[in-house]
Symmetry: D2
Subunit: 434 residues, 4 copies
């Protein structure tokens, strides 16, 4: 089936137009439409010249007129389907009605109410540090959960996360398992079509154990290994030795008695809430919104970029791992509670269609798809978009840069989506012509 033209437009549209301060309608608007009783966010940009309006509505070009408080415009997509709006501007809010006509069925237009407000320039007040103690944990990356805290761009949030099974730093289970999340945090000034920037300042372990197991998930099991591993099915508790900086399995096999791996705390989940039109995903899932990415470089010092599809972005995070091999092959990594400090910011009117990660020395695109082949394709395409947009490379140049310099790692095999990442070193990118 096909969605009505405008339904997911907020998540999908890209606006190349930078809003400029103006006493007129010129600028980027935050639109809420009411479709069959449910709200949807749509994209709208006006460029006013006298009484004439041009711009973009849900990704399509619009033309319109302003006459006193009355505003009307029409936009048309490549097939000829149209959206026609008429309304009035009162106290800075545009209210009216949109009529959508499907060119293959003009007899049955869709009519819906719509309100819009001009998005003000992003502000960065004096940065604040918020100590936040969570009391509720959510199991869906839902836009319908009430924000637990509102912060400004530039602020720092210091809080904790429970482990994937719901247990906190005191080993008390606080919630049903399944990657319960801390959040959502409302970031002021974030609007659909923006990019949320989350920098992980500190990620500290806050208890002395992690839970894991000895399974191998089915993406790792060929028939021979499946038969060999048929009796694997036990929980494994790991001791976290903060002083030594290592973790070791407890009583879990003669040959692993002394086995010790370096601690490398990371967050399995980080997400913005999903669009209103979408069934809110469970916290075991992942996608363009981030989610349960289980990528072991989402760690202290990393910066994560996520698309904003709701006002306030609604940031969630959780599912801390004391360490994790690539892919989270056991289904569980070293699951543990965590002490988290992040700073948040917003890049206005910058649309990315997928999660991105930046570390001290590299930029990293991610592909999250139903299998590793598609995840590889997606990570490649996402980096190609990044290089084309931010580095202005041509398709030929993109191919030369990625082909000669990309590192591809598996990020995730344990969940519904498989993940692959593509990493480019900043030192190599630094040699590109300006």
């Amino acid at each position: 089936m096909k969605l009505p033209l405008c339904l997911l437009a907020a998540a999908l549209s890209v606006s190349a137009q930078t809003p400029t301060p103006s006493p007129t309608l010129t600028g980027r608007w935050q639109v809420t439409a009411e479709l069959f009783g449910s709200p949807r966010y749509l994209s709208l940009n006006f460029d006013q010249k006298g009484t004439a309006l041009t711009g973009e509505f849900t990704g399509d070009k619009l033309t319109g007129t302003v006459s006193g408080a009355s505003v009307s415009f029409i936009s048309k997509d490549t097939e000829g389907n149209t959206d026609a709006f008429t309304g009035k501007l009162e106290d800075g809010t545009l209210r009216g009605t949109c009529t959508e006509v499907d060119i293959t069925d003009p007899a049955h237009p869709l009519v819906f109410p719509m309100t819009a407000t001009l998005i003000p320039p992003l502000e960065h007040p004096t940065p604040q540090r918020h100590d936040f103690i969570p009391t509720v944990f959510y199991r869906q990356f839902s836009p319908f959960n009430k924000p637990v805290l509102t912060v400004n761009p530039g602020d720092t949030i210091h809080t904790t996360t429970v482990d994937a099974g719901g247990s906190d730093e005191y080993s008390i289970q606080r919630v049903s398992g399944g990657n319960p999340e801390t959040g959502p945090f409302y970031i002021k000034g974030a609007n659909p079509g923006d990019t949320l920037v989350v920098h992980i300042v500190h990620l500290k372990l806050n208890r002395d154990w992690a839970g894991s197991d000895d399974n191998i998930v089915s993406r790792g099991l060929g028939p021979d290994l499946a038969v060999k591993s048929k009796d694997n099915n036990k929980s494994v508790r790991w001791h976290i030795d903060l002083a030594a900086g290592t973790a070791s399995p407890i009583n879990s096999g003669d040959h692993v008695k002394t086995f010790a791996i370096p601690l490398h705390p990371m967050l399995g989940c980080m997400a913005t809430a999903t669009p209103l039109a979408m069934a809110p995903p469970g916290t075991g899932d992942s996608g363009f919104y981030g989610g349960n990415m289980d990528f072991n470089q989402i760690a202290e010092g990393a910066t994560i970029y996520l698309p904003v599809t709701n006002p306030g972005a609604l940031l969630y995070f959780g599912d801390g791992h004391a360490a994790q091999g690539d892919g989270e092959l056991n289904g569980n990594a070293l699951e543990t509670s965590m002490d988290v400090e992040v700073t948040v910011d917003v890049i206005p009117n910058k649309h990315i269609g997928d999660p991105r990660v930046e570390t001290d020395d590299a930029i990293i695109s991610m592909g999250l798809e139903g299998d590793l082949n598609e995840a590889f394709r997606s990570a490649t395409g996402n980096m190609a978009d990044w290089l084309a947009t931010d580095y202005k490379l041509t398709p030929s140049e993109v191919a030369q840069v990625i082909g000669s310099s990309a590192e591809y790692h598996v990020s995730e095999v344990a969940d519904r989506n498989a993940g692959m990442i593509l990493k480019l070193k900043k030192s190599t990118l630094a040699t590109l012509a300006k």
Copy 2:
């Protein structure tokens, strides 16, 4: 269809029995059978106690008797199919006839001649260094090509390789393209069922350019990127700056004018010849025998382990790359000629079913399969075998070690097989209990 029982046995059988010096038949034998006019190598191990023989033939247990020069034995597989041999030992060579009976069709036995000689203990004469100038280059990893040089275990071979298109260090094309190989080198004492060890001592670039292109292979192309890249289709010549240690594309786009990547010479191809019963693969292909693996850590300092399926192992290598991103996304890496120095050795009676790589700080298993999902499974299964055999880990312990510590990278997406590698750090493995 099913192959006759013994056909590929040499490649598949594993013998746990270490040959001990003995004046009797006890020990491991090199067997050549003659099937419908074509030779095949089979595995045979005898343990002689008086006139009684036990042991293994093509992977199945045998029982037999020695009576003067007469030797006879019979082996049976799990289904009840039998191989019965009778022959005579003359001048150290056992000659006779084998009768194979398929239990579902006993009326039509297969009878074939067979000769065998006892494999002597492996010798390591004083190591020699061979300077070898190639004059012929092969385009199949074939067991039917005449060895170009015979060396002893422990010897060093210093030679050169032409680039994938067949051009040498003087830019002279010497052979049709398609990864023409230097070799095959015959390593004395290597027998089917052994492992060949190739250590890359030096890998030096010997000209100032490499050839590549701006394509993206289809494993990297989703529909969107395919459309964006539709006009990519040009050769790109890279300048190799040995002094600076970098390579840069020449006249290949405004934004890559100053682009420079670190040189990292590697060999795209390294292989032992394939079993006699198999159609010799082209040098663009890969498999258990190694081949066109295009893995960018097969570089100076690395040690490669390959299964031996022919007497002398018959080592090939070629397809040098001045540098390569993970996967060889362009189809061509920075293709160039190379100055190569390797030492070779043999691990007798050690069977590995897949190529393995060891570096200073890690052991690396490889999966080479029709797609990345299967390559991931295969790399995992191959490392599980490695840890079970060489580190004596139980299946549960294997899962804990890999799950907590594995790195998975893409090695190859450009050829028929996709490749994934699984890397474990030696520093982590060092903490395992002895």
Copy 3:
């Protein structure tokens, strides 16, 4: 992360024990636990002998005692984790508290309230036919939507569905698009652990057009076809000619002016509501619960078997297609409204882990996974389970029957899950020994 032991047990547990009428506790119980404020359904079977209880709780063996109204039992899984219940039976309802102890963390038990009622034998009152006119349409296969109608096993429901875009038989859009569903229907006597049986008696087209498009979804697009199809992106309206029994695209290309395909009405979606612990999937998704399977043999005359994970099963259906090629390659099939008549029934205490379809002449298993390779594996494994359970075949016999006789078709490539089906002819199965 690992879920608490009992969380998803209702969906996963299988009980081999047939309840027998008894004045005692013996029988199958419907259990509702309260976990951190949210209900979960668990499985419980008692076999009472005097004051002694045996049976199964959440898939694990239990032992317990009855003393007057007091009931207590303990169950243990293979790792040694335990659930201990103590409670009282009053007016047929067992109320009490369950204490769950994780053997790796005994200091932190999980305690939760639990109520249970004995499931009575399934009843089939005189079948009724319900004419139901839907006024609300849901976009998630949620257990939280209020049932629109309650029916008995054996009853017939006659109703209508809107098309995938939300338009009804009068071309009036009634709801936002995205496969809005008719339902949920509550089937009395259906309990978690049962199988719902839905027989499609009639499936009639009720308007003269369907909407589709000329896209090819990315699973069908290699790089070459992607480039060739880069300008495909239009809606295509099809005329439905009920008299001729065909559909034809309208004004959609010179060569398809006279193109006409046979009508073959089908339902793209049919599902039971998902378990309480799971994020309710959107109606574009599919899984063990059925959902948006888009399989073109879910048509008049077919019987669909779906697992029950909520009391009443909560049946949804919608997304009618006038016809559809295998896989729904365009993303949209011939999307249209439909007149639907189904009969429903329940197989008590019969657990299936995946949707199954039966037609006049065949049984059909389905694999719904992230890619076609996994969907193939899943369809194979699901049919192997079916043959082992219902036909008592050994694993060797399963392989012989499937290997010699299976037909494998693609059912779905348009959505997040890919689908493959495995079909076995009843005429062939009829030759199996009884």
Copy 4:
């Protein structure tokens, strides 16, 4: 690496130009080049106007001149690489030298000798029927095997094939197993760039048994089924009851004692020899040349289209199956010897890049790739090419026809390539506008 420009050109080039009878050079030429001691076939088309030549060489446009017996031309590809030929025409044979210049390395041209003859119009003499008794069987689809019989277009070949294990109709093993083939047959008038047409007139079983097994190949084995099937590993002999038209496993399980499946004889293998530049594939492999496709509709009445890449096409076939479920899930189908009657024909100057099948009621494209996802993409792309070329459909129309009407089945999962087929009913295609 990149192949020299012309190496595989014969297999790849397409000429849209139909040769017309002419006393001049105008027409299509069969070219043999000599590259580093090995022959290669290249494509060449001349259109002579006076002394001026235009046309195509290895897929690139050429311009040239004729001066008496002297002929010279130059062709250039899109990158600017050139091939320049100068030679003489004597007794209908053009002999000369071609100089290939790579624009990125003009200092090192490649020079090679070349001969060419004008391809005469295809002739169809009075059809003959050849009874051919094979005495040799090949295990590679090699262009280097001597043809066993030469026939004309329109002729019928009546012969036999041994089973996949090499046993004939008398149960005598004639050759090592691995799908030994009957052929190659040389079809006069077939030239690189043509299409070979093979119609299967009769396919008759000629003995009363077939060999199979109870394995499930790894593409069908998820972890659960792998564990359940871990002891499956036996040969299964099937009795062929020609009178009843069925086959039944012998002594292979209590529940399959009476199991009987309909006989449906098919050929697992049919191929043309592969291009000279390619390592000849083993007879277990498949590709654009056909090969071990294991598609159960390659049966009596079917017509198979295969690309010709060598003079005479060099047709091979073998690997008969008495019956086979989709995909050959056991690795072996019901392997048996066969009595085969085919008629052969040639479509001159018609290039297809992949095997195609036509039955009484359908046309069928095939995708043979490393996994089922890619095979699905490939089957789709191949049918899109077919519809565009032979039915003149636009990309939008292609999508509408396939999307509404395609059937997709699995053809092969047992070998290195997976196979998917796309079937379109002729009755539906018949409604397309002429």
